[in-house]
Amino acid sequence: MVIIRVLSALLLVVLMAGCSEPGFPKDPDGTLLRATGGELRAGLSPNEPHTSAEVAIIEDWAATIESEVVWTEGAESELFELLKLGELDVVVGGLASDSPWSTHGAMTRPYGEVIGPDGKQRKLVLATRLGENALLVSLERFLVEEGLQP
């Protein structure tokens, strides 16, 4: 069938494009490119005992892309507004994967687990700017490579 043939051709093209990573996926606003060898704008909403570990994760990851982290401390709500506006690149704050902030930021895959106040298991995540998928993929790959998963 013609449709099937067109589809398999399409798939082949797409998979070939996949070999050209890491240029793929791209950031709509080129955040990862800008941060590489430059500045990474990170937001910190203190929430111990998680945030010390999270700051270390971000610093270590930034080192792999030769980026210098500039930290902004603030309330979670304020930081996520800045993240949405594109004035921050990442936010840490002991965030759980079911955090309602997924409208303002892209949650990474979980790097750890914690028992919440209701006795249920919560997965700990970091947040990156929505749609900046190269940035998200880079941070997530770092988490996997470091074995940071629940």
Binding site: L7, L10, L11, V14, S97, A106, L130, G131, V144
Partner: protein
């Protein structure tokens, strides 16, 4: 399912039996596809929407099976026209499902564009290896497109010979299904190239075509339920049997003039043939004409002849061929 469809000729009964089997197979396959997409969807809102839309595609096969089951019942005093309208009701439900699917796509894609939503797509880790989750979505959607393409083509083969409009709506739904899959593939690929709006834009583009099919089916279903003139499946033209019955009647020596009104009951028609006799015909002559009209096609089994001194002018016009 036994086929006690006495109103159908043997070959059509066999065809209907095969269509019923195809629908059961179709429901089974689509259930597997939906489960597969559901497992990959995870937290992705876009994939979850695709899942909800896939579930809608189960509706047309279901109303088809319910309709066929219902139309098996013979006509009786309580249901003097039989239960054929179950097919028309099924057509209405199937077209509503199409409209809901189109509207959902327009809403989700449109709001994504207006609000400037940028879909995040991260990685998946598998056996110590990682890859961009977009690749997985593309592969799954490409696989999920194959069953609807094949099933849709198979179902269209049954629609015309069985005169079943639920099957045409079903085929349109399956088309909507694989087009949405194609849109997701294009959209995710676009996102990979840094075009955040690609997924929403692709959804809106296919939604236009789905809404068009939905409106078309809805219009046809409502027309048939409101006793509009019978048409072939997926058409607004008069069904050729309108003219065929008129021709049989007017070619009868004792008939001076005739007019036909024919409505689609679902699978079969109900027709009234008004004839103006030249002389007073015998009862045998009228019954012979009725028998010939009924024998002209399996769908015209329920045809009555009405003797009149003048054909009803308001219905005559269009059932008569030009010139």
């Amino acid at each position: 399912m036994s086929t006690a469809h006495e109103h159908l000729p043997a070959d059509k009964r066999q065809l209907l039996g095969r269509a019923v089997r195809l629908q059961w197979v179709s429901i089974g396959i689509m259930a597997v596809v939906i489960t597969g997409v559901g497992l990959v969807a995870g937290q992705s809102q876009a994939m979850r929407t695709a899942l909800a839309e896939d579930t809608l595609a189960l509706l047309p096969p279901m109303v088809f099976l319910v309709g066929v089951w219902r139309t098996r019942r013979p006509r009786n005093a309580k249901h003097p026209w039989g239960h054929h309208r179950a097919v028309g009701a099924g057509h209405l439900v199937a077209s509503a499902a199409l409209l809901v699917m189109g509207a959902s796509l327009v809403w989700n894609g449109g709001s994504g564009l207006v609000l400037g939503e940028r879909p995040p797509i991260g990685i998946v880790a598998f056996a110590g290896r990682t890859m961009w989750a977009g690749w997985l979505m593309i592969v799954v959607m490409a696989l999920a497109m194959v069953p609807p393409i094949i099933l849709g083509r198979l179902k269209l083969k049954y629609a015309e010979p069985l005169h079943d409009k639920v099957l045409t709506a079903d085929a349109d739904m399956l088309k909507a299904d694989w087009m949405t899959g194609l849109a997701t593939i294009a959209g995710v690929t676009g996102i990979g190239f840094g075009l955040w709006w690609a997924d929403s834009a692709a959804a809106v583009v296919v939604a236009v075509s789905i809404l068009h099919d939905g409106f078309k089916n809805m219009r046809q279903a409502v027309r048939d339920l409101l006793d509009g003139r019978a048409t072939p499946v997926d058409s607004d033209e008069p069904h050729p049997l309108n003219e065929e019955l008129w021709r049989i009647a007017t070619h009868t020596p004792w008939v001076a003039d005739a007019a036909v009104r024919m409505r689609d009951m679902g699978h079969v028609f109900h027709a009234e043939v008004f004839v103006v006799p030249t002389t007073s015909p015998t009862l045998e002559a009228v019954e012979d004409l009725t028998a010939r009209l009924r024998a002209s096609d399996w769908k015209t089994e329920d045809t009555v002849v009405v003797l009149t001194s003048e054909v009803p002018a308001d219905i005559a016009g269009r059932s008569r061929p030009a010139g």
